[in-house]
């Protein structure tokens, strides 16, 4: 199912000349990235291409060695992660990070009523909880949820902060094909409600399901950008990422 975009073309995030090295390895190398409001973008690339480092730079977990990040017309390069969340930028981590010892309801108590979400409620969270079947698991300790439900709970925690841009780092890792499709449907519906989403994903089934526009990363740089058809027919992308000769 091809997804439709609700983007109005206004830039919500602009990263310019971003660079980050770890020791002698340049994980992100003079990278430029622009996201339009309401866009749903997939970020793909082989292991070590710099996808997770780029996410770390956008969410503030890493400080860039050079470059700037502008979010909603504000330079957020020097802001701490919590300050970026309060401005509407939230991330779901690659390895699931939820409060395992606490119940689902307690997880949501922590995520809810954060400084941002107390200001406005758009009902997105309750819609997400019921769509993903988490609304009946309030008293279950989060660590006892199935793998997919743990991943979904983390997305819901991020949604509780009322983000304008959601970063999803491999949201379907370890999921069955059915769960992957459900997650893809969910992400598409989230985007249709106006939320800008940037997804890193290895699962090409997921990427094919949701992709509007795909950015391919290679050696810390943007290798190419384009529609699903353009990317899949690009011989060089097939060689570096899909492993074809």
């Amino acid at each position: 199912m091809p997804a439709s975009t609700v983007s109005d073309g206004l830039v919500v995030l602009g990263a310019k000349d971003l660079t980050k090295s770890f020791g002698g390895i340049r994980a992100v190398d003079h990278l430029d990235l622009t996201l339009a409001r309401g866009e749903l973008r997939c970020l793909i690339g082989p292991n070590g291409a710099g996808k997770s480092t780029l996410f770390g730079l956008l969410s503030g977990l890493h400080r860039p060695d050079a470059g700037h990040i502008v979010f909603k017309d504000e330079d957020i390069t020097n802001l701490k992660p919590f300050q970026r969340v309060r401005r509407g930028l939230c991330q779901k981590f690659q390895t699931t990070r939820i409060y395992r010892a606490l119940t689902v309801a307690q997880n949501l108590v922590i995520a809810d009523r954060t400084p941002r979400s107390s200001r406005r409620k758009n009902g997105r969270l309750s819609w997400a909880l019921s769509t993903l079947g988490l609304d009946s698991e309030g008293e279950v300790p989060a660590g006892e949820l199935s793998h997919s439900h743990q991943q979904w709970l983390e997305i819901c925690l991020a949604l509780a902060t009322e983000p304008d841009l959601l970063l999803l780092d491999e949201p379907t890792a370890g999921m069955t094909p059915e769960e992957t499709e459900l997650t893809a449907q969910f992400v598409v519906n989230l985007n249709r409600q106006g939320l800008t989403v940037l997804v890193v994903e290895h699962d090409m089934a997921f990427v094919r399901y949701i992709a509007q526009r795909i950015t391919v990363l290679h050696y810390g740089r943007i290798f190419t950008e384009g529609s699903l058809g353009e990317i899949e027919s690009n011989h060089e992308v097939r060689r570096i990422y899909l492993g074809e000769r």
Partner: protein
């Protein structure tokens, strides 16, 4: 679905504490009434001893909040206890003739502990120092303070009219006085003050840990990065919790000097730094009730053993800590309570669903 933890009763009876429900609160009321009625039949000696055991409860509960609920172990509670005690002694000794002087001294003592904790916390938490280094830094702080205070003998070490006293300690510290009431160690007034402060601290911290703020505190313990990524200023919250724990240790310190009119540098020494950790670990750091019970029990046990002579008390405390770490990592009271709650729920399920 996110439950709003706002109603007073709902927050007080919230999920971050093992003692909940009507049976617990009946027992709680029974014990509280027993403590209030104890002066009518207990001897002055017994009252004074019980007050001494209970005055350590705010320090224990503060460490439970800091370590059990926020995940930061501290070997510095003894230091904050002693800082408040010394500052109280200095201010109260200089304001002997002023009405309300001891009350001002109490506020000053607690403020001193809180201020030092805030300064220490600022560097440690904003610097994102690893959780396992913090207790070591605090132990070093305690030992430096002990070493410093131990060499303050002689008349040159005085603040106003109060001598610091070196290793022999500060003597003749006046007891707290509020109006005409004197809270000396052997007085019924002191006993009631300690019981009141113990109950207020316990109930106050119960409200805190079960509030929305308390959930965030627990969230920081369980996953710092996730909590940051939900928009919370984690370092600021950690400092706040650290300051509350230090202030509570300071409160215990002030009660201690008011009780014994004396404080010396060993109150910030190695043993004093370790004991609160043992009380908290043995009861179970994730429950305020468990720490309250273990603090009183272990204080009583140490006192009873000390009366019999020798250094058995320290040996027994050490063995207790080892046994707890090996067999009850969550703490003795917490483990037993969980087991009981588990059996109760199994029994209830069995009654509802019949035998499997």
């Amino acid at each position: 679905m996110a439950r709003e933890y706002t109603g007073f009763w709902r927050v007080l009876n919230g999920p971050q504490e093992i003692g909940r429900g009507p049976v617990f609160w009946c027992l709680f009321a029974f014990v509280a009434l027993g403590l209030l009625g104890y002066p009518f039949f207990g001897s002055v000696f017994a009252l004074s001893n019980l007050a001494n055991f209970c005055l350590y409860i705010p320090m224990g509960l503060g460490l439970a909040l800091l370590w059990g609920y926020n995940g930061v172990l501290s070997f510095g509670q003894g230091a904050f206890f002693a800082i408040a005690g010394y500052v109280y002694g200095i201010i109260a000794g200089n304001l002997l003739d002023i009405p309300g002087g001891t009350l001002l001294a109490a506020v000053g003592g607690i403020a001193a502990s809180a201020a030092i904790a805030a300064a220490f916390g600022y560097f440690v938490f904003y610097g994102q120092v690893s959780n396992w280094i913090i207790p070591l830094l605090l132990l070093v702080l305690s030992l430096i303070l002990e070493t410093f205070m131990a060499q303050t003998a002689g008349y040159q070490w005085r603040v106003g009219s109060v001598l610091l006293g070196g290793y022999n300690g500060m003597t003749n510290v006046p007891s707290l006085e509020i109006g005409s009431a004197n809270f000396g160690g052997a007085s019924i007034a002191f006993y009631y003050l300690v019981v009141a402060l113990m109950l207020i601290t316990y109930l106050g911290l119960r409200l805190l840990v079960n509030s929305h703020y308390g959930h965030v505190v627990v969230g920081i313990r369980d996953d710092v990065e996730r909590t940051r990524m939900l928009g919370y200023n984690v370092a600021l919250i950690q400092i706040q919790v650290f300051v509350v724990a230090a202030a509570l240790a300071g409160l215990s310190g002030i009660l201690y000097v008011s009780w014994g009119n004396y404080i010396n540098p060993s109150s910030m020494g190695l043993l004093a730094a370790t004991l609160p950790v043992i009380w908290t670990a043995v009861g179970g750091r994730s429950s305020l009730l468990a720490v309250l019970l273990s603090t009183v029990t272990l204080r009583w046990l140490a006192d009873t053993l000390a009366v019999r002579g020798g250094e058995y008390a320290f040996l027994v405390m050490g063995i207790l800590l080892l046994v707890t770490m090996l067999f009850f990592p969550a703490g003795i009271v917490v483990t037993l309570a969980r087991r009981w709650l588990h059996q109760k729920s199994m029994y209830r399920d069995l009654k509802q669903n019949g035998a499997p």
